[in-house]
Symmetry: C2
Subunit: 322 residues, 2 copies
């Protein structure tokens, strides 16, 4: 097994070698190249490569599918940015800002079909399973995104609904990335299922940790200003868990959440989170889903070196320090 | 073989029986049901059913793929309506008007994945070919749509570019609908290729005829007010062919095309089209592509009854009277 950074470098290099039709259709394909070249951790395609490598030494054969997974992820970011009217993504103008909204819609659609083509560029005997896994994952992601949008106007979200939302939006893509890699590597059905479980649980732990860091993290290591979720009125694990506690502090939280955007709001909401002790509950949930991820990978038939690679990956993703 | 209207009724009935998840996710799926229930001629799924029936008596088995083709078509209409900011489609509010733009984007994305799932709900031995045919068709459609968008700001479009655009936007979907049906019916590779050719050529003839009808048709049988393309400054076959003639009349056409929207503009542009004689050129092109469609179907190994059914379909589509 290679190091995580080496798989990521392979992905980056494959992306830089991609060739799209040029000239007349540059208005369609240039925005796709732009979206794909934004960098990032490339964690999803890395999982695909790792899984193919771990089960069958087939990282090279899995590259096309890995790029399909990454292209799908970037397609969702592109359309999400249109829906959220976000101007910036990884420090650069979003596609609809750099080009225009119609370009973002159409080039995004094109990315979804290209993602499907690449993800399913596999041997015939696993095509049906890979295609089904990919399409079901895509549906999960749309459903998660829809729930997230609906949460914006709701104030009675249960923790289980919140978990359903992040399982759709974040978990299932990591799960499918791992499972498709495992299938390409020739994993047994049970091992492929366990790798899917590993991906989903890692995704849940990652997202909940991300919610925690957004309020309790350190902006220098987190990479974003602290309190962004609070300012945007985002209904995170912290908020939903706090409201589920009920009582007077929960009522105070509702009030604080409606304060005008600013440092005062961040301070007020954070203090209430602390008073309710929801930070600890959040960390416990991260631990719970991390251990589920570890259990899944430990239950596979993989050797210790391979298991260790996946555990390291999960730790790297989830274990970001305060 | 059934009558065209019977295949269409089968499609309509299958659409009315579709069941999507309800309750919590109605915000995602209700707009999809709405989009699919808009009616229309259902010509694309009808071609799929007819082809499966003609080659193997397998219309029933092809229904899922036919619905996938129709869902893809409606997905493109949905996103096109967002891009064009159209308020009405078949006399009803468009999805982004009835719901909102973000809903139209996300439910449209969902339709594309559902379309891919349904279109590829076929036996394993033809899965790869059906999936490739579907995805390549989708790319053709996006490229055609992109060209169409780019034409809006260009005034030097060649007739061959225009044909490339409508082949992508209209021809390839009819071609893929026919080819996928043929493959499900068990057609030989050559017959499937010929059916694809039939679909593409029928699509070209249909679109060029549509351009002609929009200026020279009769609003009662055409179903839309005459002159809409001229009012919208749409670069149709008539316009592109007229400009290719060059000379003073072409220059006058450029000027007339920049007149303020209104009856005066329709009259001025129509008179120039008549002066250049581009209506006849347009009708000749319709004849040319119709005969190509007929030749393709005649070259298949189908029996006369089956060939006749396809010829009738093409006539019905293309031969709409003035």
């Amino acid at each position: 097994m290679k190091k995580i950074s080496e798989y990521a470098a392979d992905v980056e290099s494959a992306i830089s070698c991609l060739e799209f039709p040029d000239k007349k259709l540059s208005t369609l394909y240039r925005p796709i190249e732009y979206a794909l070249s934004a960098g990032g951790k490339r964690i999803r395609p890395v999982i695909t490569l790792m899984a193919a490598d771990a089960f069958g030494g087939k990282a090279a054969e899995a590259m096309r599918s890995a790029l399909g997974i990454e292209t799908f992820h970037n397609f969702t970011l592109l359309h999400d940015d249109v829906m959220d009217k976000s101007d910036l993504r990884r420090g650069r103008p979003t596609v609809h800002k750099k080009y225009d909204e119609n370009t973002a819609i159409l080039s995004g659609d094109t990315m979804l079909t290209i993602a499907t083509q690449w993800a399913t560029d596999v041997e015939g005997d696993i095509l049906r399973d890979v295609l089904d896994t990919f399409n079901e994952m895509a549906i999960d992601v749309y459903e998660g995104q829809r729930l997230d949008m609906d949460f914006e106007t709701r104030d009675n979200i249960s923790l289980s609904e919140y978990l359903e939302m992040i399982e759709g939006k974040t978990g299932s893509l990591l799960g499918a990335a791992a499972k498709i890699g495992a299938m390409i590597g020739g994993a047994s059905e049970e091992d492929a299922r366990l790798l899917y479980e590993f991906g989903v649980m890692t995704g849940l732990a990652f997202q909940i940790q991300d919610d925690w860091l957004d309020t309790f993290g350190d902006s220098t290591t987190f990479g974003k200003p602290i309190g962004g979720d609070i300012l945007n009125g985002k209904k995170t694990y912290l908020y939903v868990a706090a409201l589920e506690e009920g009582g007077q502090t929960a009522e105070a939280l509702r009030v604080a959440f409606n304060m005008p955007s600013g440092d005062m709001k961040i301070k007020a909401v954070t203090r209430l989170y602390e008073k309710i002790g929801v930070g600890e509950k959040c960390k416990k949930a991260v631990g719970f889903y991390s251990s589920k991820a570890f259990k899944a990978v430990n239950a596979t038939s993989l050797g210790e070196e391979q298991k260790d690679a996946f555990r390291k990956l999960a730790e790297k993703l989830i274990g970001r320090k305060k």
